[in-house]
Amino acid sequence: MPAVNHGPGHPGLASSPAPAPASDSPPASSPAPASRKVVLEPEEIRRALTRIAHEILERTDGGAGTVLLGIPTRGVPLAQRLAERIEQVEGRPIPHGSLDITMYRDDLRLRPARALGRTEVPAGGIDGAIVVLVDDVLYSGRTVRAALDALNDLGRPRSVQLAVLIDRGHRELPVRPDYVGKNLPTSKQEVVRVMLTEVDGADAVLLGRADSEGRE
């Protein structure tokens, strides 16, 4: 999906006077302004993740040989939360980590170079594993394409599945999620913003107009 759903990449080397991205310095401007509507409350996010965790267990035979990889920024805490829930149910830990896809993006040349996220593959690697990619919002599908390329350089999983908290439609590539927290019909002029306690200080999913973001 396009960068707008991730919240800001870092302004990086651009010497533009743009202020630091909101995600790095939470509340200041984050609490929903009038133009944004809350579409998921913290409780609903919690239930959606619990359901996805159970679905993953069903589809992967109790999580055997499964690795959860979150896509930075907000896919990482989501993968972490899913791993905790799976451990609560199954009583054994499930390997999880993060997969940064910045270097594999297809729109690198459209924006100034951005800071990289962290890639942490669990010790066992991903060869022969069922890899579940975890992200916050599925939109164009371009992030997932980049993630598949990145996985290819790390090893050869037995299969790759996709879990997202929000599917907002408007695919530009043949990509389909295996686990969805909520299908959210949107127009392209709208912006979906996922906020998570680990990154933004609070849990919420907001729907706003693009012009209030000034991006996209």
Partner: protein
């Protein structure tokens, strides 16, 4: 950050930290079976080397190739430069071939600056005369940061906590505040020293230069560091000792009575190394004159980071190339 990297002094603290953080992530690539990223596919990087170099040229070449850029190596020997072609004409030739970045090393201070005015692509200074060598300074800071537990990965691993012994001095952003770095030797001819002083100062380290008076530049008083002529008194107050090569090839006068005398007063041997604090490290940008500025037993000791510096060079240069070429900025 500018479109070019000419001087370490052009980097703000945020620029420098972004490069070091990016290098931290890119360092993981060298542990993978497939050491390659598609990021600079279709971009052309020219290594334009008018002066001999082993590690810097190979390091830049490896960095560009790991990012999938096309690399053209140009060395002055065997080229039209030997027939008298000027720097400007060489630059225009490269321009016509569509170079997106030119990595330049030249014996004349200021050559990369001139080049930047002639080509549309990005210019990266890989060492100009006795002026600057910014990527060496970046890789030195990267190495220091890793050793003192201030890189992004170690910060992420232990939030709030810190490496033993330096708990109160670790800043949140991974800079080098409060670390004491002593740079020893031929400062006068050293582009490494100049770039390091500028960058280390930007990152908050306390830098002391130690050299015989004849091997200090006239204007050293205006540099953001302190100066000492006495190596032994500086040793116990150093977290990092960076030894510089005595650059015989640039010396056209007698700067010290004899190599033995230089070595006795300003060389780092085992006895001097024993005076260092426990956590201190010994650095050298290479190539080393073993037995002159650094004793073999010191260069091969556990405190020496010399081999590590070379490995880190590739990660840091990947970060520089990615940040200068990877985005839209370079196209404007």
């Amino acid at each position: 950050m500018n479109r070019h990297l000419i001087s370490a002094g052009d980097l703000t603290r945020d620029d420098a930290l972004l490069i070091l953080d990016t290098a931290d992530e890119l360092a993981q690539i060298s542990d993978r079976p497939i050491k390659k990223l598609p990021t600079l596919r279709g971009r052309t990087v020219v290594n334009l080397f008018f002066e001999d170099s082993t590690r810097t040229r190979i390091s830049f070449e490896a960095a560009a190739k790991r990012l999938s850029a096309d690399v053209i190596n140009f060395s002055a020997k065997g080229s039209s430069v030997a027939k008298g072609e000027s720097l400007k004409d060489t630059a225009l030739t490269l321009e016509a071939m569509g170079a997106d970045a030119v990595i330049v090393r030249h014996s004349a201070s200021g050559a990369p600056q001139r080049l930047a005015g002639w080509v549309r692509g990005t210019v990266v200074n890989a060492g100009d005369g006795s002026h600057e060598h910014p990527t060496q300074a970046l890789l030195d800071s990267f190495t220091i940061r890793r050793h003192f537990g201030r890189s992004a990965s170690s910060r992420a691993g232990a939030p709030g906590a810190a490496s033993p012994g330096s708990a109160s001095r670790v800043p949140a952003d991974g800079a080098l505040d409060g670390l004491r770095v002593t740079i020893v030797g031929d400062v006068l001819h050293s582009r490494v020293a100049r770039s390091n002083v500028l960058l280390l100062h930007t990152l908050g380290a306390d830098v002391t230069l130690v050299a015989p008076p004849t091997l200090l530049p006239v204007a050293v008083g205006s540099w953001p560091c302190s100066v000492s002529y006495d190596f032994d008194s500086a040793l116990p107050k150093s977290d990092v000792v960076m030894m510089l090569r005595v650059q015989q090839e640039r010396m056209n006068a007698a700067y010290f009575p004899s190599v033995r005398e230089y070595s006795r007063r300003y060389g780092l041997d085992a006895a001097r190394m024993a005076q260092l604090p426990d956590q201190a490290i010994v650095m050298h940008p290479g190539p080393m004159n073993r037995g002159v500025e650094i004793a073999a037993e010191v260069a091969d000791s556990a405190r020496s980071t010399i081999v590590e510096q070379v490995a880190n060079g590739v990660s840091v240069r990947m970060a520089v190339l990615y940040l200068l070429l990877g985005g839209a900025e370079g196209e404007s």
